[in-house]
């Protein structure tokens, strides 16, 4: 199955609204996404502890405790619906039966909640992409690849309702290019290598999902654009570079949908609004209520178009109120009540405006995630036909958006950010139209970092 997106599913940015998606998704125990409500997506991880066979009983006990606290909080908060995400830790993917065992535990808790008090709910399971254990990574063969595919199979069989991944194909090149501010390398990684790996991996994921009647969720450019976001937040990279990387990264994430992914997108995929405009599928987002996991400059604008609202990840530790996952589920639940009340009362436009306006003038990374900016970037993408051209178009459009915002004084860019924006613009303009030409020069520059066979080259 291969779908091409040559037009926007949401052509008018004013149609990009939280809680509503033209192509809703039904999953799990009666959870319907994109049909007029925003639901919490709770994510969690283990506290500091050894994760191996000798300590497995303690690991299981943590997930049992989390499951129990989810049931308790969902009932107490009268949640209208809930997505739970289980992100496997690397050993749980290396040993597929471990991830499947935890999946079964969480599935059992959600099934119980649905039976006891009718909670519409679903379990998203996200195996870790463990294929990059060697350098250069072998992305298409070997034990890690086999374990990853087995992990999808076994988690699907154990009760996952949605399967997702944060895949890392081309990260080995992107990391290096990003550190050096090398736009040729960034675009090569995002527009030439990553789409090839996404196509390889997502066709396999969709096949697993079809055989188990599980929803193929989506991928995230976390390893690419969130790396840029974090480095910029530490003052190591210009914010405008992180913003351009975000826009460009949407194309490699889009490939999952071309292969049959249906959404919801992953919470850490801040490129989600661009994907929603193109595909019309529901998106998960994270912002202010994910500061337990990491900081970001896009805390409110990230919420403007979400269908699931996530905390990204929190350790299962004891807070004054109770277990941290339960505390964060309460935060998300109250956030979602506001979204849903706005939708119910017809004030969603005003609420969305507040979410957008409170952030967009303070950061280029927030500015490019407004409904208008994401609509423009999405339009630029669907006008092109190759992944390379689409990536380049997204990057160029984001530069135009940021330049115009600076000129209109809608965004306060300091002189160094402006210098970098112009440098990025020049570098993008200098890239060849012909992908093959770029491939030759990039093999010279980065050939030592990646295996051509991993990308079918």
């Amino acid at each position: 199955m291969s779908v091409s997106f040559r037009a926007l599913s949401v052509p008018d940015p004013s149609g990009l609204m939280f809680g509503r998606a033209p192509k809703p998704v039904s999953c799990g125990f009666g959870l319907e996404l994109g049909k007029g409500q925003v639901y919490p997506e709770l994510n969690f991880t283990l506290p500091t502890m050894v994760l191996d066979e000798s300590n497995w009983a303690a690991v299981v006990a943590h997930y049992e405790e989390i499951g129990t606290s989810i049931q308790r909080a969902a009932k107490r908060l009268k949640l209208p619906g809930l997505m739970v995400e289980f992100e496997l830790l690397p050993p749980m993917t290396e040993h597929p039966s471990w991830g499947a065992e935890i999946t079964a535990i969480l599935h059992r808790h959600l099934k119980q909640a649905h039976k006891d008090f009718g909670l519409p709910c679903a379990l998203r399971v996200t195996p870790t992409d463990i294929r990059d254990v060697t350098r250069p990574p072998d992305l298409r063969s070997g034990k890690p690849v086999e374990a990853l595919l087995q992990s999808f199979e076994q988690c699907a069989a154990a009760g996952a309702d949605v399967l997702s991944i944060e895949s890392v194909g081309a990260k080995e090149v992107h990391d290096e290019a990003l550190l050096y501010g090398d736009l040729d390398g960034v675009i090569f990684a995002l527009g030439v290598l990553a789409p090839r790996d996404m196509d390889f991996l997502w066709k396999k994921i969709v096949t697993v999902c079809s055989s188990h009647k599980v929803v193929p969720g989506a991928d995230s450019a976390c390893g690419f654009a969130n790396t840029a976001m974090q480095l910029s937040s530490q003052g190591m990279l210009p914010e405008v570079l992180a913003a351009v990387v975000r826009a460009a990264s949407a194309v490699r994430s889009l490939v999952a949908y071309e292969c049959g992914a249906l959404g919801p997108s992953k919470d850490c995929a801040y490129e989600g609004p661009i994907l929603k405009a193109i595909t019309g599928t529901p998106i998960a987002m994270e912002g202010k209520s994910a500061s337990c996991a990491h900081f970001s400059p896009v805390g409110n604008v990230a919420a403007a178009m979400c269908d699931l609202w996530s905390n990204e990840s929190v350790q299962n530790v004891r807070l004054l109120s109770g277990p941290a996952p339960e505390a964060y589920l309460e935060l998300l639940a109250y956030d979602c009540r506001l979204f849903n009340q706005a939708l119910k009362s017809g004030t969603e436009r005003a609420y969305q405006d507040l979410l957008v306006e409170s952030d967009v003038h303070l950061s280029p990374q927030a500015y490019i995630l407004s409904p208008i900016s994401t609509g423009r970037i999405a339009s630029a993408i669907v006008k092109e036909s190759s992944h390379y051209a689409m990536t380049l178009a997204a990057a160029r459009e984001s530069v135009l958006i940021l330049r115009e915002a600076g000129q209109k004084k809608e965004l306060d860019l300091n002189s160094r950010e402006i210098e970098w924006l112009e440098r990025i613009s020049r570098d993008l303009d200098a890239l060849p139209v012909d992908e093959q030409q770029l491939l030759v020069s990039m093999q010279e520059r980065y050939g030592h970092l990646f295996s051509a066979a991993s990308y079918g080259l």
Binding site: T45, L46, P47, T48, M49, V50, L51, L89, P90, P91, I130, D132, V133, R135, D175, L179, Y180, G181, D182, T227, L231, Q234, G235, M236, L237, P238, Q315, R416, W420
Partner: protein, 213 residues
């Protein structure tokens, strides 16, 4: 000396060809390779480090400076070896067992190289025994351990225990870094230091080795 100042400035500005050219000129005019290294290259990179710390330079600009320095070092190294010049110190780095995050570790390596240290990078997902074997083989002054996960950070402790058990602990200082770790954790597992980011890692290494510039 004016030429050395110009070299330091060129390093700061990341002018790869100019730095190499000036290095050769200085050597040809009889300036000692150690002086070129200390008063030209490292002096320039010290300013770069300060500018990065104060937010005046971004990482790509820092790396451009580091590239300029490396170009010069290629010319300088044979002369330094001939003169028996001492390295500033050998630093070994690696991401601990079970962890596949390496961008932070790579960043630290680059910054340390820029500050004139020799790097041995063991890569990612490194088991304790491999660290032990590499310490025996390379005899680094400092070992930098990296971890990004709450479930892998304890492998830093396991690694230090393995180094202890091998009787090598007094030969090497250990520093740690990564999102879930802290100074408190470093103290708990018996590490000699913790650094929150790559710039501070360079400071910590200099402090532990008693390097002042």
């Amino acid at each position: 000396m004016k030429e050395l100042q110009e070299l330091a400035q060129s390093v700061e500005q990341g002018q790869v060809q100019k730095v190499s050219g000036l290095t050769q000129q200085l050597l040809d005019s009889g300036v000692s390779p150690q002086t070129v290294l200390n008063d030209g290259l490292i002096a320039g990179m010290t300013v770069v480090g300060e500018k990065m710390r104060s937010g005046e330079m971004y990482l790509p600009e820092v790396l451009q400076s580091a590239s300029a320095m490396h170009g010069s070092l290629k010319i300088l190294k044979p002369h330094l070896v001939r003169e028996g010049a001492q390295s500033r110190g050998k630093i070994m780095v690696g991401t601990v067992k079970g962890d596949m995050h390496d961008i932070g570790k790579n960043l630290v390596s680059i910054m340390l190289q820029g500050a004139g240290f020799d790097i041995v990078d063991l890569g990612l997902n490194v088991p304790p025994q491999k660290f032990v074997e590499a310490i025996t083989a390379h005899q680094p002054a400092i070992l930098g351990l990296s971890a990004m996960l709450t479930t892998t950070m304890l492998n830093m402790k396991t690694t230090i225990e393995a180094i202890n058990a091998a009787g090598l602990r007094s030969n090497v200082k250990v520093i740690i870094g990564g999102a879930p770790v802290s100074q408190k954790f470093a103290d708990e597992i018996g590490a000699d230091g913790y650094a929150r980011d790559a710039v501070l890692a360079v400071d910590k290494v200099k402090q532990l080795l008693g390097v002042t510039a």
